[in-house]
């Protein structure tokens, strides 16, 4: 098992290199980062050239990539434009944990991302929890009461949820639970931000502001997940060992939750493990609509201003997360199903 994990990690390294090269090439044309840098001040061409030199943007692409990857503190840079490199470089490179400095925020990229990451993790973690618990309840109910009225209803709703773009369900839920509830004099939910500035960032406020985004995000995933759980449960429940367990008189909850659920959770683990990093993509739109100060919004803000280091940092972090979650999924899989052995 350990050898398998190590081998997978080793395989991931060239993949991540490959991804970083693709992204780095794409980054080059994202717009002129210097154009938005100093507001209206950077107009003189010698200033632009000086800035480009200081930021290393005058270097050829492969050198920029090299500096990004391993840093430039082993060599000297030409800062004054006389063609003689004299200033020692200060960047450490991604491999040593230095993602460079944000062109917009003038802060280290790691810090810029770190400021926003907990907010996104809070939103996404809660959403994932709600999705798993909710779809387990729905999926298992539909499986145990197959072809009941509720089963059909859930099937119909899940198809609609599956087809619904996140912004539509978000706008709809805002319209119903915030706008119309307010109009009808009912207790209504807040729509934007993370907390009410008048009250402050209390856990209660944050939880209240999380209800709508979490609801919108999970509504879409409920659909697919509860279908997976339903079909997995149905398949397991018709197996011989379930009949055996029933025949020897085990209580029904034991059969359902211990014997059936553990085996039915195999396909679900795969889906959850592979989808988890992609929830971040859903966060882009959700965070934009609900003005949630997370990574998705950070990404859009910095993409539109051509802040390459931050965009690169976020994308590489997600790529790493995807790889790690793929490996984790495989490990959990082997743990749940002793028939699977990784050699």
């Amino acid at each position: 098992m350990l050898r398998y994990v190590i081998r997978r990690l080793l395989q991931a390294i060239p993949l991540l290199f490959f991804i970083s090269i693709i992204l780095f090439v794409l980054m080059q044309n994202m717009g002129d980062p210097l154009a938005t840098l100093g507001g209206r001040q950077v107009t003189r061409s010698e200033d632009r050239q000086r800035l480009a030199r200081q930021l290393g943007l005058d270097q050829p692409l492969y050198m920029q990539y090299l500096y990004w990857l391993v840093g430039n503190d082993w060599t000297k840079m030409d800062m004054d434009g006389d063609g003689v490199p004299e200033t020692p470089g200060r960047r450490k490179g991604v491999l040593r944990g230095d993602f460079g400095v944000s062109l917009v925020a003038k802060k280290p990229v790691v810090q810029v991302i770190w400021d926003r990451l907990p907010n996104t993790l809070l939103l996404m973690g809660t959403t994932e929890l709600v999705i798993i618990v909710g779809s387990l309840v729905i999926g298992m109910y539909s499986a145990l009461r197959q072809y009941s009225f509720l089963d059909h209803l859930v099937t119909a709703i899940s198809f609609i949820g599956y087809s619904m773009p996140i912004f539509f369900i978000a706008l709809l839920s805002m319209y119903i639970f915030a706008v119309n509830f307010k109009r009808w004099g009912l207790p209504y939910l807040p729509t934007v931000g993370m907390f009410d500035p008048e009250v402050g960032k209390t856990p209660g406020q944050v939880a209240l502001h999380m209800i709508l985004p979490v609801f919108s995000l999970s509504f879409i995933y409920f659909a697919a997940y509860s279908r997976y759980i339903r079909s997995a449960m149905l398949e397991v429940l018709s197996q011989d060992y379930i009949r055996t367990a029933r025949a020897k008189g085990l209580p029904r909850p034991t059969i359902i939750f211990v014997h059936a659920l553990k085996n039915a959770s195999l396909p679900i683990v795969t889906v959850v493990g592979l989808d988890l990093p992609f929830l971040l993509a859903g966060a882009i739109v959700t965070e934009r609509i609900f003005a949630w100060p997370g990574m998705g919004r950070l990404f859009i803000d910095h993409v539109s201003r051509g802040d390459t280091p931050v965009v690169m940092g976020i994308l590489m972090m997600i790529a790493v997360a995807v790889v790690v979650f793929q490996i984790l999924t495989d490990i959990v899989y082997a743990w749940l199903d002793p028939r699977i052995r990784y050699e």
């Binding site: 060239p14 993949l15 490959f18 991804i19 693709i22 992204l23 794409l26 980054m27 044309n29 994202m30 717009g31 198809f159 609609i160 599956y162 087809s163 619904m164 773009p165 996140i166 912004f167 539509f168 978000a170 706008l171 709809l172 805002m174 319209y175 915030a178 706008v179 729509t191 990093p277 992609f278 971040l280 993509a281 859903g282 882009i284 739109v285 934009r288 609509i289 990404f299 859009i300 993409v303 539109s304 051509g306 965009v311 976020i314 994308l315 997600i318 790529a319 995807v322 790889v323």
Partner: protein, 314 residues
């Protein structure tokens, strides 16, 4: 006695005389059973009718005409769907936006199928080093969430394509950009499906026979293998249309998609969340149209999946 035997004797005779079902009839019988797929087909037809037929009542100039005196008007007799933030008629814009949205969905899938089938076919047919290079590339692309990739590429190619005049109408160059980048970021699953199909089909005896008789490789790929792999490609492409329409809506919603004045259902929603309280008609109509389209395409795709499966019963 004779009457009794005569009755069962006639029935099998009649059955034998009925010509065997052609593939098309078989397909249609299976598809017809799928009530939701039929429903989806009808709704899709109506949506196409809506966005094409609507041009008889409104001109594109009317759909793009701004009138700030009429901004944010609620639905009325003159403007059944209301007006937007610069006073354009939303009904007319959903009609012209629908054309672009559906066009983007269909053409983006063409790009997707072109790349996906090529990559999958090459990897599956030739195998070896080419296969592992192509599949590593596919894997690398799959490891970055599509929306992030789309936003970066929209920024990369944005504003580089000039406006296009076609059939006397001006299309924003951003439409072409969106079509290309949606296609270029969604071919990966299709490539994997095609590769898997190719891997299994190329082991058949008839491929060996074709190769033995000296059939050119291109002909083997396109005439002997590809037609047998068409079912999963069709299903995947159908669902891809829904996906492309949603993705267009996402990037346009985020302001990096199709640029005004060209309307799409997606960019009509841009900024609509600022008016969630005061002008819900801004997003309800285009949003509902997107949901309807995506829902019906998904139903049709589901029906196709069942109908094209040779193992499913008639």
């Amino acid at each position: 006695m004779s009457a009794e035997t005569a009755v069962p004797a006639i029935l099998p005779l009649e059955e034998a005389e009925a010509p065997p079902l052609t593939l098309r009839e078989l397909f249609w019988r299976r598809f017809r059973r799928h009530k939701m797929a039929l429903f989806g087909l009808v709704v899709l037809f109506l949506l196409v009718l809506y966005s094409l037929g609507g041009t008889l009542f409104f001109t594109e100039a009317y759909a793009n005409r701004t009138d700030t005196a009429m901004r944010l008007q609620p639905p009325s007799r003159a403007h059944p769907f209301g007006t937007d933030t610069v006073g354009r008629d939303i009904l007319a814009r959903t009609i012209y936006g629908g054309q672009i949205s559906l066009l983007i969905g269909l053409t983006a899938v063409l790009v997707e199928v072109l790349i996906g089938v090529t990559v999958g076919a090459l990897a599956g047919y030739y195998g070896g080093r080419l296969d592992s290079i192509l599949m590593r590339f596919t894997e690398a692309m799959l490891n970055i969430p599509q929306l992030f990739l789309l936003l970066v590429m929209a920024k990369f190619f944005g504003g580089k394509v000039p406006n296009i005049v076609l059939f006397g109408r001006t299309f924003s160059g951003s439409v072409v950009v969106i079509v290309l980048i949606i296609g270029a970021t969604s071919w990966m699953y299709l490539a994997r499906i095609v590769r898997a199909e190719f891997l299994s089909i190329k082991e058949n005896e008839y491929i060996l026979a074709a190769r033995a008789t000296g059939t050119p490789t291109g002909q083997i790929i396109f005439q002997h293998i590809l037609p047998n792999a068409i079912a999963p490609i069709v299903v995947s492409a159908t669902l891809g249309v829904a996906n492309a329409i949603t993705l267009e809506a996402y990037i346009s919603f985020l302001g990096l998609g199709v640029q005004p004045p060209t309307a799409t259902w997606g960019n009509m929603l841009e900024g609509a969340y600022n008016y969630i309280e005061t002008a819900p008609w801004l997003w309800i109509f285009p949003g509902t149209l997107i949901v309807l389209t995506v829902l019906s395409i998904n139903f049709v795709g589901d029906g196709l999946r069942d109908a094209l499966d040779p193992r499913s019963l008639v």
